[in-house]
């Protein structure tokens, strides 16, 4: 259906794709895996008409295919479902689907609303949504919006659909629905390219797999040729004995002292009677399905959202009702789940981002002016501590970094602040395997140095891999607690789904 031949692309002298060649047969699903920075996005942007290759060519059903813009690609039948949703919340579902392809009333440039409604309803049915077509996308949840995105791709009569990390915001049930949908599409002969960091999904869904590393194809072939270990090994270029660093036990100094105490925290409609203790040196995980209230709890703990009753104590002192600023002073840190919107100033430099929380400590005594020299030293030291990529200098804008490196900048920011309690919400979302490992190591280092880490994630394996203890949340409440020795994937998932309820002592 489509073949890539020798695609090569460089940005500002830096090669991003090197002689990439492979084929996507009609009606087959090809999975592309690789670390961030391996070139997947660039390759897909070339396929989708957003970029043009420096060298090499593509063929579509044998003929030359060289789209100059997304519209060219769309016309040929290439639909790109991006990782960052491209829906317009201020427009209805129907308008989002048919934004450039509105059915018109005869020759007039007026929208044929009846037809619009009807066609939209058809597509919604295919992806399993029951919303009315004229509801504003504003009112939909993240998972529902993703399904609309896919409906949009389908509605463009695509012959090739590129799915870039489609399951990041989907619940397990919605993901299954998506996979079933993909199965039906395969039967209709639609080719698909599936990009994901969730390797088990790739193995399950794809007929063929292509592994990219540093812009080159380092492995490709039918599914049967691959397993998780081999994929990871190819992606990273060395075999990883493990995905997760070994969890050593004993923390130093304030061993076992309770650093964060939460009692009966309740906010109507959001969380109910949440209680927990976090000790120094401990990595406490919070697992739950989408909508369980984990991020909401985190925001309440940090003071971003209101909390009706309960108590929150950091190092013995209550911070209930205090604004985030005060909680930071007491030692709280919050790494949000959307680093681009709430964790970073994208246009600002790496140094500016890293120092943002701790600036006060770098004032010289006299007039309160900042000591630039000390700031610089601190930034360099922290960069080393988080192993931030050396290719970008301190004055480079943070937006040019890969996801993993951006996340490291956010971590560095809180590291510099020497926080005693770190709340991490989806710290490895959208990050490649290699960088994930490094972040796990950093989390362990933080704990080993005496901090308490509260880690929220939807990846069960990740949590069982690195946490000492695990809490399960469901519908705003804590429904289970397990210690490391008792980690059992099935039990945890069951608790998250509400099939068994376990109350352990906090």
């Amino acid at each position: 259906m489509i073949t890539f031949e020798g695609i090569t692309k460089s940005f500002g002298g830096v090669p991003v794709l090197r002689d990439v060649s492979f084929a996507v047969p009609p009606g087959r699903t090809v999975g592309i895996v690789g670390e961030n920075g391996a070139g997947k996005s660039t390759l897909m942007n070339i396929l989708g008409g957003n970029l043009q290759p420096d060298r090499g060519s593509m063929r579509w059903e044998g003929e030359v295919y060289a789209p100059r813009n997304p519209r060219d690609a769309a016309r040929r039948g290439v639909a790109f479902v991006h990782q960052e949703l491209n829906l317009f919340p201020n427009l209805s579902i129907a308008e989002n689907l048919f934004l450039t392809t509105f059915p018109k009333l005869g020759r007039l440039p007026l929208i044929d609303r009846a037809t619009l409604h009807r066609r939209t309803a058809e597509w919604l049915e295919q992806v399993g949504l029951t919303h009315p077509p004229d509801i504003l996308v504003d009112r939909l949840s993240a998972g529902e919006r993703q399904l609309v995105e896919i409906a949009k791709a389908l509605s463009l009569d695509a012959k090739l659909i590129i799915l870039d990390e489609p399951t990041t915001s989907l619940s397990a049930r919605e993901a299954e629905r998506l996979f079933a949908l993909m199965g039906r599409l395969r039967e209709r002969g639609i080719a698909m390219i599936y990009i994901s960091h969730t390797l088990p999904d790739v193995l399950r869904l794809c007929d063929e797999i292509v592994v990219l590393r540093d812009g080159e194809v380092v492995g490709s072939g039918p599914r049967a040729d691959f397993n998780i270990e081999r994929m990871i090994a190819l992606m990273v270029g060395r075999s990883l004995n493990q995905l997760y660093p070994e969890r050593r036990a004993a923390p130093v100094e304030k061993a076992g002292e309770v650093i964060l105490e939460v009692r009966g925290v309740t906010q109507p409609g959001i969380v109910r009677n949440v209680s927990m203790n976090l000790r120094c040196g401990e990595v406490l995980g919070i697992f739950g399905l989408m909508g369980a209230g984990r991020s909401e709890l985190a925001r309440i703990l940090f003071g971003l959202d209101p909390c009706e009753k309960g108590d929150i104590r950091v190092a013995g002192q209550s911070v209930f009702g205090a604004p985030p600023r005060r909680r930071i002073q007491r030692g709280l840190a919050f790494l949000t789940e959307n680093r681009r919107e709430e964790g970073l100033c994208l246009e600002a430099t790496i140094a500016e981002n890293i120092t943002l929380v701790s600036l006060r400590q770098y004032q010289s005594n006299r007039v309160g002016l900042l000591n630039m020299g000390r700031l610089r030293e601190a930034v360099n030291a922290i960069r080393g501590a988080v192993r931030l990529t050396p290719t970008a200098g301190n004055e480079a804008p943070v937006k040019i970094l890969s996801g993993g490196n951006q996340q490291k900048v956010v971590l560095a920011k809180w590291l510099l602040a020497k926080s005693g309690v770190l709340i991490l919400d989806e710290p490895t979302r959208g990050i490649d395997v290699g960088a994930k490992f490094e972040i796990y190591q950093l989390i362990h280092e933080l704990a080993d140095n005496g901090a308490g880490v509260l880690m929220i994630s939807s990846e069960l394996e990740e949590l069982t891999g690195i946490c000492d203890r695990l809490l399960v949340m469901r519908r705003g409440e804590i429904v289970a607690e397990l210690r490391r020795e008792a980690f059992d994937g099935e039990r945890i998932l069951a608790a998250a789904l509400g099939e068994t309820v376990e109350t352990g002592a906090p």
Partner: protein
């Protein structure tokens, strides 16, 4: 129950402008019987017609998160050219046509610099404001031009009982509303204002959309200039000054967001313009000290925007909660 309270509050906030309007009307009507007459209302609409039309054009621009500071200057240029032509014994209808063309051309100039050369809208329209006013001042040699009565007919003529300006406003409003709500172009304007990158990726020709809205704004400014000229009967060196602010205020009062992606011309912008004019009209009837006009007008606009900001932040807070409830219901069923 919580949700019922919320729903009532949202209803109030969503229709705040309307309620404000009603409130203002009540206050004025109570003070003076002269206020609530049909003639008075017709007067108000006629007087606000020029600002309303300019504001309608401005709405298109604001919807794309842009701004057009040159509308007052375009009005001035249009009026100056019209004045020159008409006093030079040119027939009226060709003169009007020329004015409309001028509006389109000047809008096009803005569009060119903003979309092709990619200069910020604020700076471009600021510059064309200077250019336009300077040019018009040169044309009129800084003197006032008085128009012959033949032209004033536009302002006073009636058709089916209603003054011509009201018909013109209705026409422009009707077309604008139709375009924004029922045409692909109109919906794409909203998309572009919401997220220009996503719009580009979705295959929308964003450059063309941006260009079009500035041309529309220029056109509307020209039409507004004609109406204003017809009512004033003369072009003075201060013609059209600060009209850009009135237009923006009317649009924002009517619910248009300065950040793009949100706003309506009907009732929205038009109501905003009429509201501002109603206040001024009422103040005149009540014999309020003219010194107080800007004070009251600005205060009312401030309150209207305050209500809108309140509405936006409350909406954000409550939407979050509703999502959770829905999900709860879904997991209940599973």
């Amino acid at each position: 129950m919580n949700t019922r309270q919320n729903k009532l509050a949202m209803l109030v906030l969503n229709n705040a402008s309307l309620l404000l309007f009603a409130g203002v009307l009540t206050v004025f009507a109570a003070q003076s019987p002269q206020f609530l007459t049909g003639t008075n209302f017709a007067n108000i609409i006629v007087q606000s017609s020029s600002t309303a039309i300019v504001a309608i054009g401005m709405t298109f621009v604001l919807l794309t998160a842009g701004v057009d500071l040159s509308v007052g200057a375009i009005m001035f240029v249009a009026a100056a050219v019209a004045g020159k032509m008409v006093t030079g014994n040119a027939p009226i209808w060709p003169a009007l046509l020329v004015i409309l063309v001028i509006g389109v051309v000047l809008g096009g100039v803005n569009a060119f610099f903003i979309t092709r050369l990619k200069v910020a809208a604020f700076v471009v329209t600021l510059a064309t404001l200077y250019l336009g006013r300077g040019f018009a001042l040169w044309l009129t040699e800084t003197r006032a031009i008085n128009l012959p009565p033949g032209f004033l007919v536009l302002g006073t003529d009636r058709w089916l009982g209603l003054p011509l300006p009201i018909w013109i406003l209705a026409l422009v409003l009707g077309v604008a509303h139709l375009v924004l709500t029922r045409t692909p172009f109109g919906r794409q304007v909203y998309a572009v204002g919401q997220d220009v990158e996503a719009a580009r990726k979705a295959g929308i020709a964003t450059g063309r959309i941006f260009a079009a809205v500035y041309v529309i704004s220029g056109f509307c400014a020209a039409v507004g200039g004609i109406l204003s000229l017809a009512q004033l009967g003369a072009v003075s060196p201060t013609f059209g000054t600060n009209k850009e602010f009135s237009a923006i205020a009317a649009a924002v009062l009517g619910g248009t967001s300065l950040f793009g992606g949100r706003g309506k011309v009907f009732p929205g912008t038009v109501m905003g313009a009429v509201l501002i004019q109603t206040i001024e009209n009422g103040l005149v009837i009540l014999n309020v000290n003219p010194y107080f006009y800007p004070l009251l007008t600005s205060a009312i606009i401030f309150v209207a925007v305050l209500i809108d900001s309140l509405r936006a932040s409350l909406l954000a807070k409550w939407n979050r909660r509703w999502i959770r409830v829905e999900e709860d219901l879904i997991s209940n069923r599973s």
